[in-house]
């Protein structure tokens, strides 16, 4: 069942986000920026999981690589790369995409890894990366990297540092919206259809001539790039990165946001992250450690009762017209 209002709801939601600065003060704007960064991260997982059918259990790997790339670049710690924001953002997307691409080639070529095996390998990759970061003193070891500089816009001799929460909020909003549009466009293109076809019946796709491993690898790399973007913004906002953001805890969290929101709908995953994180901010004080229990139960409920997620039914945009032609039959199916 598709909600008639999902399109309006989608537009309304983005408009509301854009209008948020009219109602929120600096502190709350900062909080909202932080939530949106998690939202971008959630969309990256929703793309590879919902469209590609690849349950990546180590998405934090790409988030963390993005964060480290941003921090190291803007602190001038990568030889040969200028210490500017733009270079940091570019590297923060290219590096995770490369890692995801290589990982994808290794995992999908030949017989390929499926289902739980893929999950286990990606989880291991994230844990290994976390251990590496802890033991690599050049990138700060266990303590991570402190004093990551804020975003700096430069134009010739003119430059501005985005200390102001409003400006930073706007940058994050633009990044989130751009990520949403790019992923949505991919999803609704023929590329997206082939990707869903591979998710649904990989053998059939291969026996129509498609190089399914390459499709999955490219989708994985795109997802990695978006996760890296989120990581870069995260590093800037907190002015701090640590090995923990590469590892298991964050990887599990993002999985829960996306499962609760709905993996097949980008905006549902995005709002899933916002919602769970907001509730966590409120409840973790009163519930203390029981919060994790509540979160776990919610996750189980979402997976068992509503495998499509709590929000997906309301935000599921209809397919492009060419992919759903059947006006006469539609009436009979809705009864």
């Amino acid at each position: 069942m598709k909600s008639k209002y999902s399109r309006s709801l989608t537009v309304l939601f983005w408009a509301a986000l854009a209008g948020a600065p009219l109602f929120l003060g600096g502190w709350n704007l900062g909080l909202l920026s932080q939530l949106m960064i998690y939202g971008i991260f959630a969309m990256s997982l929703a793309f590879i999981w919902g469209q590609g059918g690849l349950l990546c259990f180590g998405q934090s790997l790409f988030f963390g690589i993005g964060a480290y790339a941003m921090a190291l670049t803007t602190k001038g710690m990568i030889p040969g790369v200028p210490a500017i924001t733009l270079a940091g953002l570019v590297l923060a997307m290219i590096l995770p995409a490369l890692v995801a691409g290589l990982l994808g080639l290794a995992l999908f070529k030949g017989r390929g890894l499926y289902g739980a095996y893929f999950g286990i390998v990606t989880l291991s990759a994230a844990v290994i990366a976390e251990r590496l970061a802890i033991n690599w003193s050049y990138i700060g070891g266990f303590n991570g990297i402190l004093d990551v500089p804020p975003l700096r816009l430069e134009w010739g001799s003119w430059q501005i540092e985005l200390y102001d929460p409003l400006l930073f909020f706007l940058v994050v909003l633009v990044a989130a919206f751009a990520a949403f549009l790019v992923l949505l466009k991919l999803e609704r293109s023929a590329f997206g259809t082939v990707l869903r076809g591979i998710r649904d019946n990989e053998t059939r796709a291969a026996f129509l001539g498609f190089e399914t491993a390459e499709y999955k690898t490219v989708a994985f790399a795109v997802s990695g790039a978006v996760a890296g973007l989120a990581g870069a913004l995260f590093a800037v906002q907190f002015a701090f990165v640590s090995p923990a953001i590469l590892g298991f805890a964050l990887a599990t969290e993002v999985l829960i946001w996306v499962a609760i929101g709905g993996k097949t709908v980008l905006l549902a995953a995005f709002i899933g992250a916002l919602a769970v994180k907001s509730v966590e901010n409120v409840l973790s004080d009163t519930l203390g450690q029981y919060w994790l229990l509540v979160l776990g139960l919610l996750f189980v409920a979402a997976v068992v009762v509503l495998p499509r997620g709590l929000l997906a039914p309301f935000l599921n945009l209809s397919l492009p017209p060419a992919l759903r032609r059947s006006e006469p039959l539609k009436k009979s199916t809705t009864t």
Binding site: F191, G197, E211, P328
Partner: protein
């Protein structure tokens, strides 16, 4: 060399062993462009194995497959498919969670040779053509339905349509009418004759249903123990006492 001068499909002395079992025993077969042939034979005689070898699912123990003058033995299923051999699986296999129009989009994407992602990202197929393709394959009224919601016969038709839309030159159909009503079976017969007459596509069909074989009216290959026992027209085959006893006898 003229493409037409080379034989269309030549299967030469294929042997396929599974452990101690010989599924195909020096099986040879020739097919010309636009030919339709039915393969019949008892269970376990190697019919499906033959399809798996031709389509690249299995590497034969020995022997070769030539398609349009090229040795395709041992190539990956993807590569063989791109050369124009498309196989319909014994268990119906379409993209169940996608709409019929999305299924068609995947086949059209294959027809426009976007087999690798980067070529597709640069520009996909023209979506305004889908309605026409859906109409030609008689699936227009189902366009927006999920493939899993289709009646069994239509779902089988969809799978054949996918293969035809990819511009395949040879279709391998493994029991395309299994579990169908007579009407649905007739639709498949019509579909096969249509793609042969209109597009010059060659078709090999594995089938158990003798009334289907009779309606299709094409030459028959009888397989037994991994090799061809007899080849001929329906009338001759159905009168052959050896075949009646070995195969037809136990259905009628």
């Amino acid at each position: 060399m003229n493409m037409d001068a080379a034989p269309f499909l030549t299967v030469r002395e294929i042997v396929m062993d599974f452990g101690g079992i010989r599924a195909l025993d020096k099986m040879s077969l020739d097919l010309s462009r636009g030919d339709v042939k039915c393969i019949i034979g008892p269970n376990g005689c190697g019919k499906s194995t033959l399809f798996k070898v031709i389509s690249g699912d299995l590497d034969p123990t020995s022997g070769q497959v030539f398609f349009m003058g090229e040795d395709t033995t041992g190539l990956s299923p993807q590569k063989i498919c791109r050369k124009g051999i498309a196989r319909k699986f014994q268990i119906p296999s379409v993209f169940d969670e996608l709409t019929v129009a999305e299924n068609i989009e995947i086949a059209i994407t294959a027809a426009t040779k976007h087999y690798a992602p980067f070529s597709l990202l640069r520009g996909g197929p023209d979506r305004s053509s889908y309605e026409l393709v859906l109409a030609e394959t008689r699936l227009l009224e189902y366009g927006g339905k999920l493939a899993s919601e289709l009646p069994h016969g239509i779902r089988q038709q969809l799978e054949i349509a996918l293969l035809v839309v990819t511009d395949a030159q040879l279709l391998l159909l493994d029991e395309p009418t299994a579990g169908m009503t007579e009407e649905e079976t007739d639709a498949i017969v019509h579909m096969i004759q249509d793609v042969r007459d209109r597009l010059g596509v060659a078709v090999l069909v594995i089938e158990h249903d003798m009334s289907f074989v009779r309606k299709l009216g094409s030459p028959i290959i009888v397989m037994m123990k991994g090799a061809i026992l007899r080849e001929g027209e329906y009338a001759a085959i159905s009168q052959d006492p050896e075949i009646r006893q070995a195969y037809l006898g136990d259905i009628e």
